[in-house]
């Protein structure tokens, strides 16, 4: 099956990004295809390469980047939401790309399921 994933909240403040990450990882392990992970609203903050959480806690930005590197998962950050929140290309962690809302709609069209994680 093809899954699209929508992440509406940033790292740490809400569990949304963690839940989305665990779900995405489980889906990949079961052999499903991830169309893309789309980050909207404060979810764009999951792409910030300056994130530097304590070393004894998970680094969500890095976890997402690693998922992209190991499994080719497309991580898309919404351009309009990013601009509002001061995320630009210079700040993007590895594996993240900035693109338009059309990518979210397309994930809904070509995917079999779209799962949203948020507040």
């Amino acid at each position: 099956m093809k899954f699209g994933i929508l992440v509406n909240e940033g790292p740490f403040t809400h569990q949304a990004s963690d839940s989305a990450y665990q779900f995405t990882k489980a889906a990949i392990e079961k052999g499903h295809e991830i169309v893309r992970v789309f980050f909207y609203h404060d979810g764009v903050n999951n792409s910030n390469k300056l994130a530097d959480p304590p070393s004894d806690d998970r680094n969500l930005v890095k976890l997402w980047s690693d998922l992209a590197a190991e499994h080719g998962v497309e991580l898309i950050v919404c351009v309009a939401a990013a601009m509002r929140r001061g995320i630009n290309d210079d700040l993007l962690a590895a594996g993240f790309k900035i693109s338009g809302l059309g990518q979210l709609v397309e994930a809904g069209i070509i995917g079999d399921r779209l799962v949203t994680f948020g507040d």
Partner: protein
């Protein structure tokens, strides 16, 4: 066509589960995740609403979220099934569409 609904808020903080139950059809499933797992506790002011639909709606809770919050399996509503993230993926596959109650 049957839906999978996900609820991630504690019923004591924000009563999303009530709103979800109002609109969830018989034959659908509700998966409690994140703080939503507190709705899985039996004997609380929130549990009646869920137990009333037991049998017509399938209730699930995400095991890792239950454990994280120190809730015991024995303290959960009868008839509710625990799943892990792999089970969450299976549920999404099984049901036609997912509605996340945010």
């Amino acid at each position: 066509m049957a839906l999978l609904h996900t609820v991630n808020k504690s019923p004591f903080e924000r009563n999303v589960i009530s709103d979800c139950l109002r609109l969830a059809k018989d034959g659908s499933a509700i998966l409690l995740i994140e703080d939503g797992v507190y709705a899985a506790l039996e004997g609380t002011s929130a549990s009646d609403e869920i137990t009333r639909r037991n049998g017509s709606i399938k209730f699930f809770a995400l095991g890792p979220d239950i454990e994280a919050r120190g809730l015991s399996e024995k303290s959960l509503i009868e008839g509710l099934t625990l799943v892990d993230y792999s089970g969450f993926v299976d549920l999404v596959e099984e049901y036609n569409s997912v509605q996340s109650w945010l």
